[in-house]
Each structure stands twice: as structure tokens, then as C-alpha cells.
Symmetry: C2
Subunit: 343 residues, 2 copies
DNA sequence: TTGAAAGCGTTACCAA
DNA sequence: TTGGTAACGCTTTCAA
């Protein structure tokens, strides 16, 4: 259990110097095909696995990257994003011998400290920056720390490497879908304004409506939670006469749309007959609730894959361009339908 | 950016040997109070942070522990457990200079490989084993690998260190609650039988009913998903006359209970008037749906805290006893009520 | 092509 | 109490 096999053992067994073992096993030139074979064979027989610690110290690399999630646990729990995103990250990290360190900072200051300490003791070679905020202080921080980083769904002009999935097309498709169904009175439930993606989605919604020559209607701030959707439904629907209510509502994520749906039902408003509701994300739960939720489906797993690829490239200093993955797309289910006929 | 401060720099600045710096900064004896002060001061001025890599190699420790989640991403997404569990882990890891590596293996074999490679290159000093399965192969694996490990919610007789939160009391409370409401026809929706906690919960349910002298009723296998709850509702309720249906159902987790609730509503069965439904977990969502879900609330965050504490102790070889945290407790909300009066 | 040796940044042992 | 020095396990440079 205790005495693990080291490069010295392999060298001894193969009857060569440890430097040759290192070269051979890392596919570097300068080793004859014959010796290489002998070394590989010896390593195999001994079950040699290079020690990450030795490699780390020598190579000045941690072979680890970090993700600091700065949301409160409840949001993390119910958010489908991170599970898939992390899954995607792993698929590219693992084959390259990298691993992911996950940290959670519930408060912004705490989050910054996490990044700081990850950098200070060189625990990671790079980090992901997700859930970007407006004027996000993490940007300046990683620059100051010289810590390679990749932003997820950053705005244009983001100063670091970034991977993005456009929401514009999907939201435009949603608006066209609703307009085609005859809707004219719209409303939008945003996410918390401190996150840039909340603003991105709202803007895409407003722009598409304006492009269609229709009034944007009410915009109420939500918080990405089920509860927030319930509250938004109260504000937009309760106590309003049918012809004063919006007939088509987009919530900026699925969870809040599902809350919205639930409250609408309680208020006696039928979906989609009296009201159309759509979300954003494409979480599984949306296809189980009744009516099934129309949404704009994102692909967090793919985002994770590309973010990881980009981060490793950034770390290696290989030429890097931002990556745009295929846009999120409209998925029509049963929570949207023809606009109710006024009478 | 590149030339970081090392122990050598501190030693030079303080005019002492590096061994003294090491001793002083690690609060080891053998350094005079005076020198210690000088060293600490020098370190502070230089902004010295010990290199994890150097420490790792020398101390033969990774200062990292691992969690390999072996569920498919969707379950991870919608499961409230891991977000809080990980949050709890972090609160004890962080102050002790440890970090968490998160890996995901969707298939069992893959999961085992993850553990194997974590151990092979000594990336972690120990691992958590959660979502224990029946005859879980990970137990033998970590033993064979000599990898310190802590089991989460293990059965009695578990051969490794374990942290547990008893579900028995809470489920018994639930049964007493239902019995007190006059229910006599029960049913239970389990989790996947390959997980031991699914069996644990079902057994607690059956035992409590038997203790009350009541028939256990139908037991149908679910899968912990919303969808599974819907399917279970179909099997237990659809096409059955009111007096042939159970009047009180426990689903083995909240998510499936919520699915069950939704389908019951679609079938025209009123909850709690015609039927009482309860879940297990205590997720936030349960308090937002209507009717609000009666459940047995667990505290995954606390479980994470204790699991991490125990794992670090196991790694340090300090005397270790299993930890039992406060049992999960019944939380009565509005999805349970008096048994319907037959007529 | 091969091998010896110098790092990498700590900790820990042992003289002084 | 101090300081020198040998590990720890690898990569990399430079002679041979």
C-alpha cells in the first residue's frame, strides 16, 4: 500500500536512466525505439503511474482547473445548468489528465477570496467564470492575478477568452411564434438584474418585439426561482381584467416559468387558452409539467465542453479565439397557443 | 507575475534557515519566540504563501479530497442533495486548506475508473462515497486501493467510516401523522432498488405501518424523478374506484412526490381531500407547489459538514467513530389531511 | 542515444 | 534553538 512505484523503479528495471524513462513515457524524441519499448514494458509490468505531485512541482502546473459557483445553494440545487455544465467540462478534462476543483461562495466577497486563494497557492492552472455579473469584479481580479480564465456567456467586448451560446435566435423564434399565434399583449419576467444574462435575454425579447412592430409590454423583475415566478404571476395577472392582462409571457428561465404557470392555474387562468407562457433553458422538468412548457433550449453540457477546451488552450497559451456554440433554439410545447379571442 | 515568493526568500529576508521558516510558519516547536516573530513578519511583508505543490510532494499529501457522483446528469440537476452537500463539505475543507475535486461518472464502471485513477496518481487523500448501492463495488475498491473513504448514509455494518442521518424517526412520525388522520389504505413509491437508501426508506415505512398494526399496501418502484412520480400515480390511481385507491401515499423523494401530485390533480383526485401525499427530502420546491408538500426533511448540508470532518479525521488517522447527525424530521404542510370519509 | 545532475518548494531529520 | 541537508518524484538541460 505505501511504497508506490516511482520512475526510479522503472529506470532500474529497464536498466536505463530516469531521464530516458521520462522521455520515453512522454513520447519525447531522443530515445531509440528499442529502449522505448523496454521502458514501456517495464512501466507496464510495474504498474507505474507518474505521480501528479512530482509532475506538478517540476512542471509548475497543477493539472487542475477551478470553478467557483457563486450562487446560494438553493439556486444551485434547482438550476439545471451546473450539473450538465460540469458534466461537459469533465469529458474534456479527464482524458487530458486534468481535474476540476469545485468551490462555492455564497457571497460575492467570499467568491473573490476563493479565486484569490486558488491563485495564491497555485492550486489551479485556470478558472471558469460563470454567471457573469454587470461590471464583474472577477474580471479585474483574474487579470491582476495572471490567472488564465474563460468567461461563460460573456457580453461582447469581454476582455478574456469566452465561450458563448447565443440566445438571440431562439428568443426571436419565440417572439415570431407568439406573434404568429396572434398575440399582441406581451410581458416579460426577467432574472436578477445583476446577472448579465438576465439583461441579455430581456434585450433580445424587447428587440424582437420591436422588430415586429409590437409593444414590449410589462417587464417585471424575477429572480430565476419558482417562487419568483409565482410572485410575477401575481403582479401581472391577479386582479386584472382579462383584456388588461398580457396574453403571452416569457419568463427568463424555466423554473420561474413553471412557478408562473402554477400560479396562473390557481388564479383560474387557463394555459394556453387564456394565456401563453414560455420559459428559457430547456430543463427536463418543463416537459413533465402540464401544460408542457414551451421554452428556448440551451445546451449547457456543450457549453461546458467548449469552455473546458478553451480554458486548456488558454492555459497552454496556444492561439485562442472565442468559441460560439450553436444558438439556443425554440422548443414549442403546449404552454403556448393562439391568442384568446376578445369578445 | 511569474517569480513567486518562496520559503527561500523568506528565510533570506529574516536571516534564518528555511527549516526555521518552515517550523515557525507551521507552529512547530523548536523556534524561539523572537525568531518566530521575525519570520512571520518577513513572510507577511513578502506576501508569502506556501506552495501547495512543494508541500504536496514533501508531505505526501494532496490536500484534496474527491467526490465522484455517479448519477446521470439529469438526476444531478434536479436533486437538491448535492448542492447543499457540497456546500457543507466546503465549509470544513476550506479553513483547513483542503479542496474538493468533483467528478461525474454516469456509468458504474466509469465511476470505478474515476476512483482508480484518483488513487493511482494520488490526486486526492480521500474520497466520499455517496449514493451507496447494494453490494457497492466501491467499498472493496477503496479498501484495495488503501484510499481513505467515508460512506454517506451507509447501512449498519458498513466496513468504512460513515456518516448517517437516520430516516426512521421521520418516517415513523409521518406514519403516525397519517394514522392519526384516520388513513387505513396506504401505498409507497420507492426509489431505484439499486440504491440502499431507497430500501432503507421503504423498510422504515413498512415497519412503522406494521408497528401500527396496519396493512402496508401497495409498493411500486419509482426512480426518484418527477416523471417516475407521474408514472406511479398512473399505476396507483388511474382506473381505480375511489374505495380501491390508497388514501395516503409516501413517495421516497420530494421530486417524485411532486410529479405524483401533478398527475393526481390531472386525474381529478383532490389532494388532500381525496388523497394524502407525502415526500422525503425537504426540498424548497415542495413548499412552493400547491398543495404544499408534506415531507420528511433531511439536512444535506449538515451531512456534508460531518462527512468532511470525518474524512479529514480518517485521513489523519485520528481516532474515528461513525457520526450520526440529527434524524430527518417530519414537516407537515398541506398535501396531507384527514382520510376521506367512505360513503 | 544515453546518463548525470540540477532544479521545483516544501518538510523533516540530525548535527552543531 | 538553530542551520544544513536529504528526501519527495518528476522534468529538463547539458555532457558524454
Amino acid at each position: 500500500m505505501s511504497n508506490r512505484v516511482t520512475i526510479v523503479d522503472v529506470a532500474a528495471k529497464a536498466g536505463v536512466a530516469i531521464s530516458s524513462v521520462s522521455s520515453a513515457l512522454n513520447n519525447r524524441p531522443g530515445v531509440s525505439e528499442d529502449t522505448r519499448r523496454r521502458i514501456v514494458e517495464a512501466a507496464r509490468e510495474l504498474g507505474f503511474v507518474p505521480s501528479l505531485r512530482g509532475r506538478s512541482l517540476s512542471a509548475k502546473r497543477a493539472f487542475t482547473v477551478g470553478l467557483v459557483v457563486h450562487r446560494d445553494p438553493y439556486v444551485l440545487e434547482s438550476d439545471p445548468f451546473f450539473g450538465s455544465f460540469i458534466g461537459g467540462i469533465e469529458t474534456v478534462l479527464d482524458p487530458r489528465g486534468y481535474a476540476l476543483i469545485l468551490q462555492m461562495g455564497s457571497e460575492p466577497v467570499e467568491t473573490l477570496d476563493r479565486y484569490r486563494s486558488l491563485a495564491a497557492n497555485r492550486r489551479v492552472d485556470g478558472v471558469f467564470i460563470s454567471d457573469l455579473g454587470v461590471d464583474d469584479p472577477r474580471i479585474a481580479l483574474v487579470q491582476e492575478l495572471g490567472l488564465p480564465a474563460v468567461g461563460v456567456n460573456a457580453d461582447p467586448g469581454f476582455p478574456l477568452a469566452a465561450v458563448r451560446q447565443s440566445h438571440v435566435e431562439g428568443i426571436r423564434e419565440l417572439v415570431e411564434h407568439l406573434v404568429g399565434l396572434g398575440h399582441t399583449r406581451f410581458a416579460h419576467v426577467t432574472g436578477p438584474h445583476e446577472f448579465i444574462h438576465a439583461g441579455q435575454r430581456q434585450r433580445a425579447w424587447s428587440d424582437a418585439l420591436e422588430a415586429a412592430g409590437l409593444p414590449v409590454g410589462d417587464i417585471v423583475e424575477g429572480d430565476f426561482t419558482y417562487e419568483g415566478g409565482v410572485a410575477a404571476a401575481d403582479r401581472l395577472l391577479a386582479g386584472r381584467a382579462p383584456d388588461e392582462r398580457p396574453t403571452a409571457v416569457m419568463c427568463s428561465n424555466d423554473l420561474s416559468a413553471i412557478g408562473f404557470l402554477g400560479r396562473a392555474g390557481e388564479l383560474g387562468i387557463r394555459v394556453p387558452d387564456d394565456l401563453s407562457v414560455a420559459g428559457f433553458d430547456g430543463i427536463e422538468l418543463g416537459s413533465y409539467v402540464r401544460p408542457m412548457l414551451t421554452t428556448v433550449a440551451t445546451t449547457p453540457r456543450l457549453l461546458g465542453v467548449e469552455a473546458a477546451r478553451l480554458l486548456l488552450e488558454t492555459i497552454n497559451g496556444t492561439a485562442v479565439v472565442d468559441i460560439d456554440i450553436e444558438p439556443a433554439r425554440l422548443v414549442v410545447r403546449s404552454s403556448t397557443g393562439p391568442a384568446p379571442q376578445p369578445r
